[in-house]
Symmetry: C2
Subunit: 127 residues, 2 copies
DNA sequence: CTGAATCCTACCTGATACTG
DNA sequence: CAGTATCAGGTAGGATTCAG
């Protein structure tokens, strides 16, 4: 079968693997929600993010932010004050990813109804 | 701060939560790779998918396909033959999701270099 | 306030064996 | 071929405590 026009898969399986790995790292729940929060609110400090992202534990907040910083998605700025203040914001790369994810977001928002219906139908069939 | 124009977040926090949940369910590694495989190859049978998606166990293949079927992303067709043949293919909803993810895919493919560089820089700073 | 360190649980996942 | 059932190991993630 011919490759659909809107896919953009590399011919190189090694690149494919790298891309898969990259997406896997970037497409986890907390990363997604943090990108969302940062995209919406702009530069934001640690505790504020903890409040923005409902249900996130301090551990996962720290861990995910570190990971995102390492991937180049967020910039971390420490202000030498007392008490300490640390701000996080999306980098250019982070913003671009947020835009890329926008399509998925829109899709989910638009299709909640269809998904719920599909689930109900499935559960009905298998009850 | 004003809401960026390209975000499409609902005003309703309840919808937001639903969308987050939906994305979380749909954005896992194997689901992503299966969408990719199915989008590329069209209708495909169980064992073929197992070969397409490198590293997936039979258990996760079954589990992920069931989940996707429940969410309405894939259709499952059983052919009453001997030996049994079962084919999976993306539904309309599934195809739309694949297209939505296309942006993320493109982003990842385009920015592997920047990510690797960011990671190297981070590791350098923290060594 | 911003984290790091520890402990502990639950689930994710792979391997293996078995069925229609 | 297309699964299901079971078991064991690793890991993600939460709660708690402590520190700069």
């Amino acid at each position: 079968m011919a490759k659909p026009a809107h896919t953009s898969y590399s011919e190189d399986p090694k690149i494919d693997a790298l891309v898969d790995e990259t997406i896997a790292r970037v497409a986890d729940k907390w990363t997604l929600l943090l990108i969302e929060a940062l995209e919406e609110a702009g530069p934001r400090r640690f505790s504020a993010l903890g409040r923005d992202v409902e249900g996130i534990s301090q551990k996962m907040l720290t861990q995910t932010l570190r990971q995102m910083e390492r991937e180049g998605l967020v910039a971390r700025t420490v202000f030498p004050e007392v008490p300490p203040r640390v701000e996080y914001e999306l980098t250019g790369l982070g913003h671009e990813l947020a835009e890329a994810f926008c399509g998925v977001w829109t899709w989910a928002e638009k299709n909640i109804g269809r998904i719920e219906a599909a689930r109900a139908a499935y559960d009905e069939r298998n009850s």
